[in-house]
């Protein structure tokens, strides 16, 4: 029997926390298993930083998408917006723009998409899938109108910024000759982590953040509680657009080149990571921390498939493995939620995890 402090009541275990916990647990389990089996690369911190470097843009976009999905909507224009932003910024930089104006351009394009889509979806009540699909088509088409040829950044100051790395000596490793190679992170990773933290705080602590959960859970009761449903929904799409603009800039800092198929499938990757992280497409459940671990889980799967040499002779195994893992996560979530709904799950988890029932 656990002694409970009557003054400090435990909050009941919500779906959000449960699903996030599962995804965090699975990430660590997978990573430690990979350490045991393949060792070498996985034992170094640099591997984690590499995964972060490669996926900084995806983390930012997935955060925006998480907000939209918590609000019960969907935004599939994000990949298109990234590619448009990359192309526009490169053309702008190469024709004599500065880094500041390029960043403003990126944010402007993202905001324009977010505001337009948000207005059409929330105030004209059009299905979000159709509008953001049209947004994706528009952005992809505009990308090729801006430039069909692949472009490369030839802006010295920007390339210097691109090459900038943040080094962590403590997390580095020694080569055989005893030379310390520090763990390196790109600037984009810092941007991504700061945005992640800001959104986490916003979702937990502000009225707006709680409004997203309210409209996603049940928009009618949110309306009766005095939440401005239309405005909240509008803001969710605006944030998603803004974040995809920023993600485009981060993507450009990572690749330094742009072509028409940039960030192809980024929207589906972002949706997949949000789902793995415990966000439900039906709305009202989700957390950006979970989304972050969703991105990391996808990255770990890719790293494992590459390291194990499965994809060497047969390139199809990579995607098939990712698909199988996705299927596993989706099924796990479904089973967990349905067991919880029937009350069967309560009997399966230890008592201390259940929390008080009041």
């Amino acid at each position: 029997m656990i002694q409970r402090n009557p003054l400090k009541r435990r909050e009941p275990l919500t779906d959000t926390i449960l699903l996030t916990t599962i995804s965090i647990f699975i990430f660590f389990a997978m990573y430690f298993a990979a350490m045991q089996i393949w060792g070498a690369g996985f034992l170094r911190w640099q591997r984690v930083f590499d995964m972060l470097n490669d996926n900084a843009a995806l983390i930012i976009v997935a955060c925006g998408l998480t907000i939209v999905m918590i609000g019960g909507g969907i935004d599939i224009s994000v990949g298109g917006v990234i590619s448009l932003v990359v192309m526009c910024c490169i053309v702008h930089l190469n024709s004599g723009g500065t880094i500041l104006t390029a960043a403003l351009l990126a944010i402007g394009i993202g905001l324009a998409f977010g505001v337009t889509q948000g207005f059409l979806i929330s105030y004209l009540e059009i299905q979000p899938f159709i509008i953001t699909l049209a947004g994706m088509f528009f952005a992809r088409g505009m990308t090729t109108i801006v430039s069909v040829k692949p472009q490369k950044v030839a802006h010295e100051a920007f390339n210097a910024l691109r090459a900038e790395r943040i080094e962590f000596d403590a997390l580095g490793y020694f080569t055989k000759k005893g030379k310390l190679i520090p763990a390196r992170a790109e600037i984009g990773v810092v941007v991504a982590l700061v945005i992640l933290l800001l959104i986490f705080i916003m979702l937990r602590k502000t009225k707006l953040g709680r409004g997203f959960y309210a409209i996603g859970g049940n928009s009618n009761s949110a309306l009766m509680l005095g939440v401005n449903v239309k405005r909240t929904r509008f803001i969710s799409y605006t944030i998603s657009g803004l974040l995809s603009g920023i993600a485009g800039f981060v993507f450009m800092m990572h690749t330094g080149a742009g072509n028409a198929t940039n960030a192809a499938g980024a929207e589906m990757n972002a949706i997949a990571s949000a789902i793995i992280g415990g966000t439900l497409l039906s709305g009202g459940v989700g957390n950006v921390i979970g989304t972050f671990f969703g991105v990391m889980i996808l990255a770990t799967i890719n790293a494992i498939v590459t390291t194990s040499g499965l994809s060497a002779g047969a390139p199809w195994w990579q995607e098939i493995t990712v698909g199988a893992m996705l299927c596993f996560f989706i099924l796990l979530q479904s089973v967990v939620l349905s067991l919880r709904g029937k009350g069967g799950f309560k009997r399966m988890i230890p008592k201390w995890m259940q929390g008080s029932k009041q």
């Binding site: 004209l124 899938f129 528009f138 088409g141 069909v148 028409a260 493995t321 990712v322 996705l326």
Partner: protein, 401 residues
């Protein structure tokens, strides 16, 4: 005297004529009013009937309107867009060519898939985004069997049946996730969306196989002696089959019921799980047909570009067809019209010499215009405006009176 008498006579005659005239006019008037009355009642009856029918078919207004819009635009731009000619192809067959034919022919895969997509949308209230991958898998099976042996009519039928079976297996996989495990369709089909094309690549053995045979040409382009492209005939056949299935069985009714209210459907003795699964199986068959058309049209399979982004176009076709993406009432005709509208738009843009990579941007603008016009809020605003105009004109009349 004589003159006077004639005058009297004249006046008599005129009098007579007048009375008779008035009598006739009276008669005519009554008869006329009778007829008009009759006509009016009949007319109102017809109008009522028309209105009722219109309400029933109001859903088709959006796709028809968008097709009409594109047609009028083309008529103003270049009337020769509509010309259809009979020419001879390189096999010396008489074939129909022209923009209209290429619209009908090019939209075949989209039309077939959007038929199945309508059913899934209606039953599950969500969309399948794996149709492109599913079609590619089916086509890979089709081509693999054909390449293993000689291509005859028998092996083509066998390969088609095998690819239908494969598509149904994967359709059942999607359907099980959606109906048994109660996962949202878009997420459940995300699995196949991610790995489906790789599965096709695996079946192909890491290559882009080609098939060449006059029989395959007959399936993909023209049957010798028949000027109409075969894919159009296949679409008509599939449409008739599906139409018969919905008309003569209860599948359509049950699908609607499950889509509108699943719990009520269950209480009425309908098994929602089975209906949802059935809709995914039908969609799997549709994907198999589309994959076969696409593979035989091109004569090769490229797992990355085959049926690319057809899932987005198919969902769009369902939406333009006036079907609610949240499930419930549906009309297959609307979706098919929507599919043709999308293809008409694409062909129009090609005819205007827009580069194929830029087409998407213009397509998006047209889509947004169509969707905004047909959105409920805009519709309400227009009807409110119309009521105001009517009221104002009535007030003016009153003032004038």
């Amino acid at each position: 005297m004589k003159r006077f008498a004639s005058k009297i006579k004249w006046s008599k005659y005129t009098q007579l004529l007048k009375t008779k005239w008035s009598k006739y006019t009276q008669l005519l008037k009554t008869k006329w009013s009778k007829y008009t009355q009759l006509l009016k009642t009949k007319w109102s009856k017809y109008a009522q009937l028309l209105k009722a029918k219109g309400r029933k078919h109001a859903q088709l207004l959006v796709p028809l309107l968008s097709i009409l819009l594109i047609a009028v635009f083309n008529l103003l731009r270049d009337p020769s867009f509509f010309s259809v000619e009979i020419s001879k192809n390189n096999l010396d067959n008489p074939v129909l060519t022209g923009n209209l034919i290429s619209i009908l022919n090019g939209a075949s895969e989209l039309a077939v898939i959007s038929m199945g997509m309508t059913l899934v949308t209606a039953a599950c209230g969500g969309q399948d985004i794996s149709v492109g991958a599913l079609g590619t898998i089916a086509a890979s099976v089709f081509v693999k069997i054909l390449r293993d042996g000689q291509i005859t009519a028998g092996t083509i039928v066998l390969a088609f049946l095998a690819c239908c079976a494969a598509a149904m297996v994967f359709g059942a996989f999607n359907g099980t996730l959606v109906s048994v495990f109660k996962i949202q369709p878009m997420i459940a089909t995300l699995v196949l969306f991610t790995c489906g094309r790789s599965v096709a690549y695996w079946i192909n053995g890491g290559a882009t196989p080609t098939i060449e045979s006059p029989l395959i040409n007959a399936v993909g382009s023209f049957i010798p002696g028949c000027p109409v492209p075969t894919p159009i005939l296949i679409v008509i056949a599939v449409g008739l089959l599906l139409g018969a299935l919905l008309r003569f069985t209860t599948l359509g009714l049950y699908t609607q019921t499950v889509g509108i209210n699943q719990r009520a459907a269950r209480l009425n003795g309908i098994n929602p799980t089975l209906i949802k699964l059935a809709s995914f199986l039908v969609l799997g068959l549709c994907c198999a047909v589309a994959g076969c058309i696409s593979a035989s049209r091109l004569g090769l399979i490229n797992h990355e570009t085959m049926l690319q982004e057809i899932e987005m176009d198919a969902i769009l076709a369902v939406a333009i067809g006036g079907n609610a993406l949240g499930g419930g009432k549906f009309r297959i005709t609307g979706s098919v019209l929507g599919a043709y509208a999308i293809q008409a738009l694409t062909i129009t843009l090609y005819a205007m010499k827009v580069p194929s990579t830029d087409v998407k941007a213009y397509k998006a603008i047209v889509i947004i215009i169509i969707v905004v016009i047909s959105s409920p809020v805009v519709k309400q605003a227009i009807s409110r405006l119309w009521a105001k105009v009517k009221e104002n004109s009535q007030k003016k009349k009153e003032v004038a009176a």
